[in-house]
Subunit: 416 residues, 2 copies
């Protein structure tokens, strides 16, 4: 490739390791003979159109180390999905700055944006190498074995369920946790890493890959509660009914119909996952007279931004993807997306590969990867323990737990 | 005190360091010449009445180390608040096992229980030393400078806001987080530790110590949003209106009135903090046309059970309180509660003191400690930065963050 400048941007929901990928780009660019300046676009493509940049090769070294371990996108992020017209404006700015290398960190949408910019540049015969760097906590990107951002999110979810399972043991009842993932159950499935003992939760796991039936849910919880005296449940925010309608929307519609105006004047109940959580808890309270304590929480943005539980493996892989993007940009003969591939063998190891943007952002469905059938129980209400083999290596270390051993004869102790 | 056996139990909502206090009791009991057996009652007072115990002096050492760092109550916990009759049943069992030392780890209710048992034993002329060991994430116990469990909860909240503030910077909008604390704002106030730069959130903090006015809330958020283009808000679950009615209940009543039966048959929307969160977000969406992205999350049980963010200071103090309880039980001439006192001086240091159970569980209000006025802004919509001096030493280490420096001339960069 020819010599020129480079730009890097980040898009979509932040993760705790997205800055690692940016740091990987910075590190590798510093070594490159082909790139003179590295522009950090603020808010992804918005920063290019608005001409707002950070000078990434002139940052203090000690600050870079801190940025690398800082959650969320230090460059800022964007929800803008550029159309062709927007991409022409981008191209004009790239020309102005002699940018020949474009690194875009993001998920499905960003891969698609990269594809459009790639085509626009080609049409204009502007020599540009554009490399998409994978990022999403949802882990729903095609081709890659997994995506940077997922491992840390999975570690947070696993840790949260380790704590909540112990909490639920200490004060038994029914506890429901709603987890992110509109289309794919990978995040929710990570909750099974909290299972150490036979009766550890989550006892039920509902993913968007299977329809969610409310009657069935009530029966499932009652069965577990009858057996164990408690029940811990993991539910994807993306659960839908048999007709494909999101339960979060059903609950909202329910509410909109009934509460347009209310006793306090103009107040309106909002819609969202908090209501879905309360709805599920309320349904159990209403229908199961033998169940006394029910609580539902929504893990929310903590899943993508909590700074205390970053996976070391995830950090390293995010950095690697950034580095490899620069490396591929100089050597490869085509634009593409960096994919993480799990290498065969009994010990966990990954490699990277540059794949066609079209493979990650295809014209026809499926547009996203979902949880494979082999990890979902036949009844569709659980994730099987063999998912552990897939997810465990991505997490790094997990909190270890202990418990008191029951020594039976003590119960019969008699004072003399 | 006379020689005999001992029992330890834990009550109320678990914390991540409650097991440290139990371990402190075990360690100190092992050294004691006065105590032969140490019974670990399952589920607090319930285990005594049900005769269910762990033999705590016969646990494997390596398991004890693990239990110490494990969240939630390894002995199990209880919500039972014994009356006098229940305490007589407890006394019968203590007599049966020749238990002369009773250690009860918990909050206000447990201190009150300890008071009743103390009186019942005294009336029966049964020689019993009962020591209450403080524990509550709410930090609302009287006398103590702070309570074991709070430091780790505060660390979790601070970490969560550090992440969420960066997330909100990367993708600007309004973000509301609901935090535990029905009467006291200590947990919510810990969110201010996320402020590093001038424009860092939380920008608004609402605690139960001040009435929450919905119109005022909307104005507050709009003002911050207009100034910064984003707004991060910390809200206590315990906020109430000018008449002292909980907002969580108001929202529930609202809902109950409107949705008794609905379009889907027998479904009922539940009540809870998720609904309050969605209600606050919905109100902003409805009233503020210029604000586009609004999301509200409820931190939930993670605040008391998340295993990845334990404060080392909190762990140590929880252990200390357990150890001192045993120490006081042998030496002191009266029953009481272990209090943590902050020693004067510029460097943080604590000591313990055995205080009267009546001081912690008094007959007349105030029954709980609340956030002092000096930490609440005059407008009642924020917690001031001087709260940092109080809370920071309790947290141990916090995640450090970095950011890219803006270098202005680059924005004007022109390719040659």
């Amino acid at each position: 490739m020819r010599t020129g400048n480079a730009v890097v941007g980040t898009a979509g929901g932040p993760t705790v390791v997205i800055n690692q990928s940016v740091l990987g780009v910075i590190q590798e660019t510093e070594k490159s003979m082909h790139i003179a300046h590295l522009f950090g676009a603020r808010r992804g493509v918005e920063g290019i159109v608005d001409r707002e940049y950070f000078d990434l090769l002139r940052q203090p070294d000690n600050m870079l180390d801190l940025v690398a371990q800082t959650p969320a996108a230090a460059l800022g992020s964007t929800r803008v999905r550029p159309d062709e017209d927007y991409c022409y404006r981008i191209l004009e700015e790239l020309k102005r700055l002699d940018i020949r290398y474009f690194f875009y960190v993001g998920g499905n949408d960003s891969a698609r944006t990269s594809r459009i910019i790639s085509r626009v540049a080609e049409d204009a015969k502007y020599e540009l190498r554009i490399i998409h760097i994978p990022k999403t906590i949802d882990n729903d990107l095609l081709v890659s074995d997994h995506t940077p951002g997922y491992g840390s999110c999975a570690k947070f979810v696993a840790s949260a369920f380790i704590g909540d399972n112990l909490d639920n043991r200490a004060l038994p009842g029914v506890k429901i946790n709603l987890l992110m993932g509109r289309n794919a159950g990978f995040i929710t499935a990570a909750s099974i890493l909290a299972r150490f003992r036979d009766d550890d939760g989550p006892h039920l796991v509902y993913v968007p890959e299977r329809p969610f039936d409310l009657d069935r849910f009530v029966e499932d919880v009652e069965a577990v509660y009858t057996r164990l005296g408690r029940c811990l449940v993991a539910v994807s925010e993306g659960i839908h009914d048999g007709q494909g309608k999101l339960w979060a929307e059903r609950v909202s519609v329910l509410r909109q119909e009934h509460i347009e105006r209310d006793a306090f004047g103009n107040l309106q109940l909002g819609m969202g996952t908090g209501s879905l959580a309360d709805f599920l808890a309320g349904t159990l309270r209403h229908r199961c007279k033998n169940i006394h304590r029910v609580r539902a929480d929504v893990a929310g943005y903590l899943q993508r931004s909590y700074p205390g539980s970053v996976s070391i493996v995830d950090s390293w892989e995010a950095r690697l993807c950034g580095q490899m993007a620069v490396s591929y940009s100089v050597d490869a003969t085509a634009n593409g997306s960096v994919a993480l591939l799990r290498l065969p063998g009994s010990r966990y190891a990954v490699g990277t590969k540059l794949v066609d943007l079209k493979a990650v952002a295809p014209d026809d469905p499926p547009f996203v990867k979902t949880l494979p059938d082999k990890y979902i129980s036949a009844e569709g209400n659980n994730v099987t323990n063999n998912f552990r083999e897939y997810v465990r290596p991505l997490i790094g270390d997990l909190p270890r737990i202990g418990w008191f051993e029951q020594i039976a004869e003590l119960a019969k102790f008699d004072a003399t």
